[in-house]
């Protein structure tokens, strides 16, 4: 146990010595890791905030059946029961014109200014029809809409559908960006970091070659280098977190209106502590993997 401890201390010491003996190369590696992680992190932050928005979309994936103006309020429950019997419908809720206006106000945030000039409530009463999960798609929606269309008292199904359609596009957009850019970014960060560490090692090649000449085993050379990679990764991700937090604090107030449009009524949130830890872990992992790549690509013997 004490043996192991001593070994760890001496390992750490030689890693730190390695880092400090080539300060420029180490600094560059740390900064590069930080930049890469800021990129990935900024994207993750956006995606995480957008996901909250998408959860809200789940609620929006309902069919609103606008009732004709000549339908008296007393008939609303009966109509709702009728709608409930349609296949693919999970639940039905009655929305009075007043409720509809209130919702619209909350939903569009500041955009609600749009409605202030109105002298009377233009919104009709409606049935908010939630679909069963298996019908929550464009095709499923079509089937349900077709069935609902035949019901009496329902004036229009179009509006809600258009909303949903607009949101489906936004959703596909965010997903597309998420998968595509996220994958490219992550992969690029890994490549860049491993290249940087490789170059950092190259600038110390003479030293590493000498180690082999005096009989250092592969693990004696490799272990501190991996630890150096891990330390660079940790330092880089800490720096990245700090930068992201700063960016977050600076950007959020400036773009308040834009973000409100983007995120609906939700206020933007930073990473949770566990997510911060995950980012740190990613940094360390990227550093270690980079060192491994570099070690594998350079042979010191």
């Amino acid at each position: 146990m004490r043996q192991l401890w001593a070994r760890l201390i001496s390992l750490t010491r030689s890693a730190l010595r390695g880092l400090s003996s080539s300060p420029v190369a180490s600094g560059v590696a740390v900064v590069t890791i930080a930049i890469s992680l800021v990129l990935v992190g900024a994207f993750a932050l956006l995606a995480s905030n957008m996901r909250s928005l998408l959860d809200d979309f789940g609620d929006a994936l309902v069919v609103a059946a606008y009732l004709g103006e000549n339908v008296p309020a007393s008939e609303y429950p009966a109509l709702a029961d009728l709608a409930r019997s349609v296949e693919g419908v999970e639940s039905v809720q009655v929305i009075s014109p007043e409720q509809a206006l209130e919702r619209f106000r909350v939903g569009v945030g500041r955009g609600a200014a749009l409605l202030e000039g109105l002298s009377e409530n233009p919104l009709p009463a409606s049935l908010e029809i939630t679909l069963l999960p298996e019908h929550q798609s464009a095709a499923g929606l079509g089937v349900v809409v077709e069935s609902l269309e035949g019901l009496p008292g329902i004036d229009d199904l179009g509006s809600g559908q258009q909303w949903v359609e607009g949101y489906l596009r936004a959703l596909a957009l965010v997903r597309g960006l998420g998968i595509g850019l996220g994958a490219i970014l992550g992969f690029a960060a890994l490549l860049i970091v491993s290249n940087t560490i490789r170059l950092a090692m190259l600038s110390r090649r003479d030293e590493l070659e000498l180690l082999a000449l005096v009989g250092a085993s592969r693990s004696f050379v490799g272990a501190p280098l991996l630890l150096e990679g891990a330390l660079c990764g940790a330092a880089g991700s800490a720096l990245a977190l700090a930068l992201l937090f700063l960016l977050f604090q600076l950007v959020v107030p400036g773009f308040e209106f834009g973000l409100e449009l983007l995120l609906g009524g939700l206020s933007p949130h930073f990473f949770a502590p566990s997510e911060c830890l995950a980012l740190m872990a990613a940094g360390v992992a990227v550093g270690v993997v980079g060192s491994l790549f570099a070690l594998a690509s350079e042979r010191f013997a």
Binding site: S14, S21, L210, L211, V214, G215, A216, F220
Partner: protein, 235 residues
């Protein structure tokens, strides 16, 4: 284990060619015993450095067998090389110091690779640096040392480990005559303690002063070899 074999270092019909057609060493047969002190001489490009490189497995022989400390250095796998090298001290012709480490760290390296405890490392490094007149320089970086000081650091690193074999390639090229002899005495003393010492040198003063075994290479071949039973170091 190496006591069981006859010679510490044995070369049997060794040839080395870096590029096709040109031989740096050709059909060399030599044996070096435990505690032997051998001087290797010959003109520039004769193959002295190549011979030393083959012994500590920095190059592979093109032909022939090389036995070092009971191992076949010409066939050693990459994993077995480090353990062999840890038993050999080498003074490189171009010093090969780590420019970003202090003198102390450079010398300590030879002890660290064999896992010597830190306290012992410090003591032994200090002792050898003092012997070589470098104790004031121990926190300096190699680039801020004079040529001769750098050479002495390289010698300290090779000696600190008390290796079973000491290979020194032109260890006094940057030293004045007086200092040269002082340091050669130190190297010769290692042979007295049982180390097999092979020194490549051009220095005629050293060749005249030290007895023991003299091997002369020319164009990669051993052209003369003689032993004086006791040189000055035996006086």
């Amino acid at each position: 284990m190496h006591d069981a074999v006859r010679a510490t270092v044995g070369l049997f019909h060794v040839s080395k060619s870096y590029a096709a057609g040109h031989f740096a060493l050709r059909d060399v047969c030599l044996e070096f015993q435990r505690g032997e002190f051998a001087l290797l001489s010959g003109p520039s490009g004769a193959g002295k450095t190549t011979l030393l490189k083959l012994i500590f497995a920095a190059e592979r022989a093109s032909e022939g067998q090389i036995l070092v400390l009971g191992r076949n250095a010409s066939r050693l796998g990459a994993a077995a090389i480090p353990s062999l090298r840890r038993r050999i001290g080498v003074v490189f012709q171009d010093f090969k110091l780590m420019p970003r480490r202090t003198v102390e760290e450079n010398v300590a390296l030879a002890l660290e690779v064999v896992g010597t405890p830190r306290r012992e490392v410090r003591a032994r490094v200090f002792a050898i640096l003092k012997q070589l007149g470098l104790q004031d320089r121990r926190f300096h970086h190699p680039l801020s040392l004079s040529g001769g000081e750098q050479q002495r650091v390289a010698i300290a690193r090779a000696l600190v480990n008390e290796p079973e074999i000491l290979l020194a390639d032109e260890p006094t090229g940057n030293l004045d005559e007086e200092l040269s002899l002082e340091i050669m005495d130190l190297i010769a003393a290692a042979a007295k303690r049982g180390t097999t010492v092979i020194v490549a040198t051009h220095d005629s003063a050293i060749l005249e002063r030290y007895g023991g075994r003299h091997v002369r290479l020319e164009h990669g071949r051993v052209v003369s070899e003689h032993s004086t039973p006791a040189g000055r170091e035996g006086e």
